[in-house]
Symmetry: C2
Subunit: 347 residues, 2 copies
């Protein structure tokens, strides 16, 4: 028996319940983890409230894909020497009903295991794959950002936003961050933004970006919002720029700015993490790139706040408040996972 | 003195006037051509009616960018041995007021000259660069079409559409052509379309494309229409597909299909010929690719109809009728440019 988070219907944070569950038997290609900590991601709020369809899941269902832990047990056909090893999980699992990691124990497929990102503690190790892999795709693999280029990172206070700011700097680029919250501006500058645009009702992001870049425009955009703002993103773009959309926080209609797209040869490119995690060669290259830069301190996960397992409802509520700057982590093993005020920084 | 087409205000085809003009003196880097024939392009109708802004032009202005002719005179700093040479013009000129080629004589900059596409006659030679360069960019240089892939070519009866069908076949791909005119279907199949979708009020292009491709979807789309049809193009696309927009025949709002773009990792990419013609290395590569395939007969310009110079108003009217299938050419020199029913095929 161990405690795990489940929910029986879609709805607000309060649908999440902490329950005692018997441990299921392992199937081929699976391992059981003792979870040290897990990370919260926006898509889990959307799965929970039903705004993001859960493929093939039946209720009650578990939740969560990003965790770190210790291998307790392996299926008969899996390498026995994994037992006792510290590992992290790559968010590549679709079936959260079976593989959800919100809990004291979780079953995950071997293919979802990843190395521990040394020298991070368990809180920091939980805040690596989703954010850095998401930002790596558009900036490194697809967008091939070059030194000196400008990148517009919208909704930059998120964990992916922080990861993007760090990767832009690692590549020698310059980041313009947007946020709706003026109180976050100084923080975003400290986190690596060369400029911050605080977006109010009358803010023209494109005019600001053009002023900042000396009318050159930005070479890449990372945007999780979509909606009517697409037009201003096109206006902020340099000729030949690519605007990566990796989410749809604004579900209102998004008129496509055909004229600037034609005139400047722009690309609007949809992107999700699945492109990286489902391609073995790409994933290996991305993991290597990220692990190297965590090891040398170039990339440092930014932890916003640590919750306890029995505070899961509050943790989801906090994510939806949009007050956070960086990653929200739930600590499961108090002894192993470090202090509640952990920073994720190297010890 | 020589005759040339000019117009004094934007408007319908009737604003075009055939006038006797004195020959301007050549400036540095220019040559004078005796025009044998010139090609009509949709963008010239749009410049004429004011729907496409003419950069820096004052009235009266000449028109046209795609012609073939014989070099009559060169500026002092230009290679004298060009005189008497048969050449074509690349549509890379912005200043149609000075460099418009609708006429018996035209001044063009040296940089706009291109080799004669052997073994074509003057009618065929006028129907090469705009159409093949436009289709080359998305299919070869940017889209990197591979053998066996499906391409959706919308509004395929245009000259660019024909060029695209030929290039898709040259690369071993398979083309699905759309047309609103059922009478053009058989012709498009003969022109290289593996399948033709005749688009009526109730036609679901995506459903048809999915049926044709066995639910795989198309890897590339070439679309000059935009407008509300973008959503169906996204629905017809395979995961990872790129949808190239190279025009905006439908200026009504184009809602951006965010969900399929995210889910399938699609790119909507604006593209114009300028990307190729203003990049010397790219242009050289493209010209070589096209000339080689014209020489061996892989690419064969499809001439729809040949007009005389004094029929220019009628020629523009015909283009706007959308009855054509392939290129509309105006023959200027009756003796040199070949028969009015020329096919553009090798002699």
């Amino acid at each position: 028996m161990s405690r795990a988070v489940r929910f029986y219907e879609t709805g607000g944070p309060e649908v999440l319940r902490l329950e005692d569950l018997a441990d299921d038997a392992l199937r081929d290609g699976e391992v059981r983890l003792r979870i040290l900590a897990f990370g919260l991601n926006r898509s889990e709020c959307q799965l929970r409230d039903g705004s993001y369809p859960m493929m093939g899941a039946r209720f009650p269902t578990r939740l969560g894909r990003e965790a770190c832990g210790i291998v307790e047990e392996v299926a008969a056909n899996a390498p026995a020497d994994l037992v006792g090893r510290r590992v992290t999980t790559i968010p590549k699992v679709v079936d959260v009903q079976r593989y959800g990691v919100y809990g004291e124990r979780a079953i995950v497929p071997l293919a979802a295991l990843a190395p521990w990102p040394e020298p991070l503690d368990p809180i920091g190790a939980t805040a690596v794959w989703q954010q850095y892999l998401t930002a790596y795709g558009p900036l490194v693999e697809l967008g091939r950002l070059e030194a000196g280029q400008w990148v517009l990172v919208t909704a930059a206070a998120s964990s992916v936003g922080h990861a993007a700011l760090q990767i832009v700097n690692a590549l020698g680029g310059q980041a313009i961050a947007t946020t709706r919250d003026a109180a976050k501006a100084a923080h975003l500058r400290a986190a690596g933004a060369a400029h911050v645009i605080v977006v109010g009702a009358d803010t023209d992001i494109a005019a600001e970006a053009m002023k900042i870049t000396g009318d050159a425009g930005v070479s890449l955009v990372l945007d999780p919002v979509a909606g009517p703002g697409l037009e201003r993103l096109a206006a902020a773009a340099a000729p030949g720029a690519t605007i990566f959309l990796y989410g749809q926080l604004d579900p209102t209609p998004a008129p496509f700015p055909v004229v600037p797209v034609l005139r400047k040869g722009l690309a609007f490119r949809g992107y999700t993490l699945w492109e990286i995690v489902l391609d073995e060669a790409l994933l290996a290259r991305a993991q290597d790139w990220i692990l190297t830069r965590i090891a040398d301190g170039t990339l440092r996960p930014k932890i916003d706040r640590v919750f306890e397992l029995d505070e899961i409802v509050e943790a989801h509520r906090y994510m939806e408040s949009n007050r956070q700057m960086g990653k929200i982590v739930v600590r499961v093993d108090r002894d192993a996972a470090g202090a509640r005020n952990a920073t994720g920084e190297r010890p």
